[in-house]
Symmetry: C2
Subunit: 250 residues, 2 copies
Amino acid sequence: MELDSGTGVPANIAAAWGLRERPGKGPKPGLTLDGIVQAGIRVAAADGIAAVSMSRVAAEAGASTMALYRYVRAKDELLELMMDAAIGDPPAIDPDAGWRAALTAWAWACREVYLAQPWTLRVPISGPPATPHQLAWMDAGLAALADTSLREEEKLSIILLLSMYVRNEAMVAADMQAAVQAVDTSLDEAIATYGKLLKLLVDPARFPALGRVIAAGVLDRADEPHEEFVFGLERILDGVGLLIAQRAGS
Amino acid sequence: MELDSGTGVPANIAAAWGLRERPGKGPKPGLTLDGIVQAGIRVAAADGIAAVSMSRVAAEAGASTMALYRYVRAKDELLELMMDAAIGDPPAIDPDAGWRAALTAWAWACREVYLAQPWTLRVPISGPPATPHQLAWMDAGLAALADTSLREEEKLSIILLLSMYVRNEAMVAADMQAAVQAVDTSLDEAIATYGKLLKLLVDPARFPALGRVIAAGVLDRADEPHEEFVFGLERILDGVGLLIAQRAGS
DNA sequence: CTGTTCTGTGTACGTTATACGCAGTACTAG
DNA sequence: CTAGTACTGCGTATAACGTACACAGAACAG
């Protein structure tokens, strides 16, 4: 059977929920799914997602390469399981804080998880969220909007928008940090290098608006570390606030 | 030399700007960089980015695998060049339309480019935008904000926020379309299947907010095709509008 | 006790990117 | 005109990858 217990749950998601049937016929399993997933996470944390090969994970777990395939259908499934395990559960959020404070806390927590484990940002997303911890984060985000008079559909859209934003912003931040560490320089210097590059390439006659940005010196120095994140977050929350006010008014 | 003409321009970006020096000593090149890039684009458009291997592109270009390396430093560079060629130049936007209409048109155009060539969404971003067409799109976006009283720094942040949003939303849309085509079903049906899956997995006692969304039937049917995109876009532009009003007021 | 079924493992295969060396070509210096 | 040089396209070789498959042994059901 492709699916477990005929419930119609896709195999990879069933694995994430621990629904794998392991009828007790053969020999005792010497490994555990969780052990393998943790081994994968250790490899990814140490040397990045590119280092996560089946043989490397198997070595870390103390088994042969092919043993992993008794627990995992394919590498993609392993990555999905690693991802789900790595993000863990969302933090508790004060339910009386108001939607804006709650969403802000949620977004910051999400970002911290990503930046603490940058490899999670490189795991290709394979579909709509359906693993336990992903749904837990979704639920926590939705809970922040529970007291508003938004339609359920709108709440969901907002959480999707926000989680997309946080993930993407974390990716950019992680990219920059990686680039900085690769050349062993400072963030300020990296930005300045980029600014100089654009100054070289951009002809203000051809790209006038971009030319004005460069001329204004925006790219001469780095922002405060999290300034970019806060800026986008505040714009989005402002927009959400407008909708909430609108729904409350009508 | 790693760099061209000692200008300090990284090799891959120099290639994108056509700054490669090809001193006329050896035999006449039988291929052109552009021809190779176009061959790569044909392969990607036909069979997706996973089909873009050096040997496949070489076959499409009518040359041997290793010949490509005379024009391209590595596969990553080829992908970057393909990406830049594929997005092309942004459309002209009515400069008197006002910032909101202009940004909306810009975002839609950007989204169309991505969805017309979904493989571009799978090209890993390798750093801040520095290729000619990327900068052209950035300039077009910034131009939409030219008449506002925002600081240049803010304009840039807004364009980055918006382009991130469009790209991400296009990725999700492309993912869904791919999933739908893979199982050869309708979009409505795919959403409903996902809804049923969540209904099965989500315990409303453990995930109350998510339970309410599901109970409200949000996932029983698909939205209008572009509804999700419009929703997020409007929220972001609302937030931007608030900032513009604030800056104009003070 | 005798299947039956699951375990871990070794081997093998097909792909991938790309480093390297070679033969031939078009230009430049003399 | 000739020698040298730098570049071309190409074939081969290498290391790594995911994973299909077959097999030996272990634990259970009857």
